[in-house]
Amino acid sequence: MADHPAHFHNSGNRFRPYPHHHRGRGRWNSNKRARILGPKGAELSRYRDQQYKGSRYEQEQKLLKSTTLYVGNLSFYTTEEQVHEVFRQAGDIKRIIMGLDRLKKTPCGFCFVEYFDRPDAETAVRFLNGAKLDDRQIRCDWDWGFDDGRQYGRGKSGGQIRDDYRQDFDDGRGGYGYLIQKTLLETTNAHQMQMPPTMAPPASSDS
């Protein structure tokens, strides 16, 4: 009846979205004995946004009071409505901000979900981290709060950095990683090379 994927990550704290490199604008604290902050079951992960303008301590204090989540590992085709339906289960949503490709202005696989109340956001971190949306295991982590500009991907490609360096083929996130695609295009004649099919992304949703 049910499907049991062999590699099912459950630990939000240990699940790193781009494990191959450290060039992102955020950092995963590698100190595994670092002090764990936050309420039971909804602790802060070891990820910190390096773009945050302020001290690490200030960022942590913000994260501990935040009502905003960062949601990662979405498919490019997942809509705001779907995100709303999944996250509504934890409480009243104030707003959702879909992450967009900086250049193409199309969804690039992450979003911010802001709740009205902190307890609802905690419920979401507790029980929706690792849940599935469009057959993908999503990651929910605390975010210090949305600021204009943060909705855009920070990668070279315009999308998220993890999609620059990704080695695998991921249909939900535009096929191969950007750099591989680029290398493939440069080294091979595009006509001879059978590129994997990539669906056209949905229409732009910037406003």
Binding site: A2, H4, K132
Partner: protein, 793 residues
Amino acid sequence: MEVEQVRINRKRKFDEDADLNTRLEELIKRIGEKSQESLETNLERLVDILDQEITTKKEFILNSLVKNAIEQPEKMTIYSTLVGLLNVKMFSTGGEFLVLIMEKLGTLIDDAEWRSVQLLIRFLADLINCNVVLGASLLGLFDTFIATAAQPGVKPSMRDFLLYSVMQCLPWIGLHFNDSKDEVEFERLLDILETEIEKREKHYMPSIRVWSSDNPLPQIEYMDSLWLQIKNMRNNNWEDNWIIRPYVAFESKLESSLQHPLPQFELPADLEHTQFPLPYVVFRIFDTPDVPNRAEVPKLPRFNSIDRFLVEDAIMNVINSKNLTKKECAESLLRISGRSSMPLNYMLVEVLFGGLLELPVPRYSELFYGSILVQLCQLMADHLPQVLAQAVAYVYERLDTMNTVLVDRFGSWFAYFLSNFKYHWTWSEWEECVNLNRTDQNHPKPKFLKEVFLKLLWLTFYEKLKDVIPDEFVTLLPLKPGYNHKFAEVTPENNLQAKCAKALIESIKNKEGLDMMLGSLDPLPDGAIDGRELDPVYPEAKLEVVVQTILRVGCKSISHISVALNRFRDLIMAVMPNQDAKVCCLKITFSFFKTNHQLMCIMIEKYLNFQLIEPSCIVSWIFSPYMLPHFDRLYLWQMLDTTIKFCIKRCDRIKVELEKSKVKLNEKKEQEAGAADPDIAEKRKQLVQAAEEAVDHYVKLLEDAERSQKEVFLIVVQRFIMILTDHIVRSEQESRYTQTLWFRCTRDRLRQTLVQYRREVKRYMVTLQTLLFTPEIEPKILECFTQFKGYIA
């Protein structure tokens, strides 16, 4: 070299001292966990260690024992054995321990920690098995409890709590009293208990029953259920197959000590005003024959066997302590299932379904139960998924007698569950729904599937849904979501409204001001489209153009809608002067999203949060004749829920702000009093004034919000009564059967509104009783209110 050694030794001694508490705590906490030694050996060792330390660390050790017995109830009997063994070594310690327990009991009652109170009483009772407590003395305590419960005028919830506290100890102590010198007294106590339990009135049962039918398994109220199980246990010489009794191995040793009488204990006098636990029904879905009769599979005890209670109690204890961490919780549940004497997979599914389907609302969030079930399916891939499927099939078979609120809740969970497992299901087993739908669209089974498919659509997208659901079910699938723009296909030349809509869009594109935008609507009348008389009057024709146009501009996504509503707020408000106009706006919105109910639900949230439409208007619209065809659809009730919760949350938030402003005012007043310099004093006086104004502001806001909330509740209840009365009267006139499925569902919803929002409804009891639930209304409706009063008593 030598000096260095001394230094190290000294440091080590210091560390050891500081660590002693932690180490003792750790030893106590971890006793009974998996170990290479036997439990008996470990217990003896721990007793020796504690005995050594007890002179200096007595208070710490005793406190730690009580704490762990409550926090790890699955190991309670281990802790009572430990106390028993300590009592043998040092008689005075046992006495001091009892004093401590009684003190702790008092604090827990004061804090209304009911679950812990009951666990502590159970621990206390179990101490008679270890020869620490005098049996007669324990019976004396229980006698006080029962006597207090039996007093006339004691409120039912308190009476039930006291009786249950005694009852839930019996499985642990029945055997002890069975052939002791206190047997006669014990039997007498059981008899009084039985009388008290049986004479209780339970009018409220229909409000909290999952199924209205007891076929195939009786759904019994929790006290009656436990009493039934205890009676069976009594007939069975107080035997069970679950409780681990480590004290049996130490029987001869424990017998050598003397027992203590219990310290005097009195229940606090003012318990009448405390909130006690609410009643519930024990959820039953499996019985012995449901488990395959194979040698390697343990037998499932009957529903009325005490073993069912004991295992469920153990599962509940894990859930109660681990409900914040799904992974830890699932792993702990798995650990219980390590004991092979019971088919734990069946019991886990039953308890978790019971939790999810608890009325009025689940104890923990629906997401908790949902994600635990997903986790368990992964952790117990060989044992759990098939049992879960069996349970789902049973619920499906019993949909016709299931409380309609729970049909909805179950459907939402099922959609969530499927979306976590790639939508795999043996759909072929439900193919009958297609035919059932053809003959009766309102049949509970196809209706359920339709709701599940709709929820699935919301979680995924239309093409995917068509892909994963077999073609046979196509008639049950929702329509492809879209929007229905009224002026899209009308030629503007022939239609004044379409012409104005076109002009309005132009005006929007040119980023013109409010006057210009309103100006583009000038050709339209300031009343109805067809010249109908509106009372009170509002510009219906203009309103339709504005709402349709704004929705058309923003319908791309939720964010777009929000932006559009924010940007054109003034425009909407300009054509929405009164309540009727707002109800009309909802009608227009609903017709725009005719095939996209998800966005309609979100629109309700947005209208409320942007303060465009008041909750009372939304409620009036939901109960309007216009929405009657949608009266049995989940989305309608989701909108009602959103609206009511909005009112409640708004009041709660203002209350928080009001409290904050009051604190601030006090601070400012204190500062003012402390100022000597006249200049500073003057400044501070102004600050006090500002703070006072802030308080006044919130007081007024709260008054408004509370008035609005009351209005909403009164409208909801009134409309329910009207609609149900109307149904009864018409059925009687046409001599049709009154209690149709529609009637039962609607009545379920009325009951649910009362019990779910009991905290709010309680405040309006007088108004409800004098204005709405009057003796003249239909008894079938009035009984909902009577049941509610019984429920909160």
